[in-house]
Amino acid sequence: MEYKLRKAEAKDVPDILRLVKELAKYEEMEHQVTLTEKELLEDGFGDTPFYHCIIAEIQGGGSSDDAKVVGFAMYYFTYDPWVGKQLYLEEFYVMDEYRGLGIGSEILRHLSDLAMKTRCTGMMFVVAENNEPSIQFYKRRGAEDLSQEEGWRLYRIDKSSLVKMATPGEE
């Protein structure tokens, strides 16, 4: 099956949201996706993009209108104060029926290439501890579990707590 990888454009926003929801469904958390196409458009294709996407597209049999988006990776650049720029892989998904064709490997190869071109010293991402297939996929490519090796834990302060901190209190 013919497929190609390309940089996402504004017109891909509906497909990006569709795939984000599909992946969330796979994790049984679809109702937690509150992001809208409007926000994805503003945040990814405005003056300052807050994320970037690579799209995997299957070529249709007929005209170019037949092209179907079957996979994507969402990434952005982060900064490690000891070594500099990092490429952060936020989301990575290939539709079930299109797996096993090497699309995932190709996306990762493309991202590695991009990381090198943009002078990043590494690529980082989180994986759920019970997601064995993904853990193995990444370990085969040299990924190290920093949570295990260095004891890092991810924390979150949510909006209501931020608002509490930002507003002057009784202090």
Partner: protein, 141 residues
Amino acid sequence: MEEQVILTEKELLEDGFGDHPFYHCLVAEVPSDQRTSEGYTVIAFAMYYFTYDPWIGKLLYLEDFYVMEQFRGFGIGSQILKVLSETAVRTRCSSMHFIVAENNKKSIEFYKRRGAADLSYEEGWRLFAIDKERLMKMSAK
């Protein structure tokens, strides 16, 4: 782990103050009559940048946060976190994320007092990294 800091002033300058900043910093400065014995007036900082959660949108990511030892206990850290919270709310971020070493009890308490939740514990997230050498191997294939 000081020897692991290989970043240079040149890179920090390009990466933070060029056309496209890859990070932002907040610094705390004391009046010159309170400067340190080496003459420093910048005595604390926080480094942050914006990340993106595909379910909810923009997030503020706190990368580094430090107050020089002799200036702790005066509420400088709390004030820095307050300004970061204001920045997050103003830029329409849904939350602030950061990592903490599991054995850093003091920091964990500091953050938990302010409402932080341990997502590694609650949702099972583990942080992974692929280093430059392996990236080069993959990109060359």
